[in-house]
Amino acid sequence: VADPVSFAPASGSTRRGFPWALAFGLVGLALLLAGAYVGLFVAPSERYMGDVQRIMYVHVPSAWTSLLAFTAAFGFAIAALWSGRDKWDAALVGAVEVGVILNALVLAQGMIWGKATWGVWWDWDVRLTTTLIMLLLFTGVLALRGFIDDARRRVTWSAIAVIVSYVDVPLVYLCVRWWRSLHQVQSTPETVHPLMVLPLRLSAFGMIFLAVWMITRRAQIELERGRREAVAPPERLARLQPTSPGRSAS
């Protein structure tokens, strides 16, 4: 509460936020709950894997949405480099953070599913390995931002790091087609029971809607943080100074 920088008045647009974002979040939550209900209690068990296959209804939507978030981050990175505007950098942060969270979830869900069906928590299979590399690369982008104080350089280097990291994203999606993999190739609705397609779609759209809300929220926070940094550097610097010469000498 004593941090004056934290309570600099927010601008009108930031305080109002994006009204549609909350609607996206609520719709996403409703779809996720509906998807979970249908996936857990209505959809039939899979012939070979039994009930454990129901993990698919959170695992696949998390994977799709993380890839979409990183793809959005790639677009925001190009826009940030092109225009140099803070709003694209803020959107980039939001997309990368949400993508990293979902990426970590995908790995956790996949390990649980793998232990049940493959008998091992982890295998250095090409899909699993490229997904882990994707997590490390984009976590590195977030870490990199923490090391750069200058805002302009932070925008540039974050965007470049995202563009370089994005090379792994199509690899994650296509590797199961290009190389022999323990992980199965993507299914199509024609090869899946309709009662399995429904919860998958509900959960996928729910996850995407929720991710849009989270990215928007995070971008708003980042924009506001950037404005505070821009208007209050003296106070920030003052807080770094020793409180009294006597204390520092003792």
Partner: protein, 50 residues
């Protein structure tokens, strides 16, 4: 790789619980961060007088 299915509802519940927990924590983190930046807390000028 054993080829034998060992998991059941326990694995499903674990996967759903981890997903729900992480998403809930992230949503709360974002909501809390938004409150800090909304300007509704104690203004800096009043805080300085204490």
């Amino acid at each position: 790789v054993t080829g034998e299915i060992t998991g059941g509802w326990g694995s499903v519940v674990a996967a759903y619980a981890i997903t729900a927990t992480v998403l809930l924590i992230e949503a709360l983190r974002l909501a809390r961060a938004r409150r800090r930046t909304s300007g509704r807390s104690v203004p800096a000028s009043q805080e300085d007088k204490r």
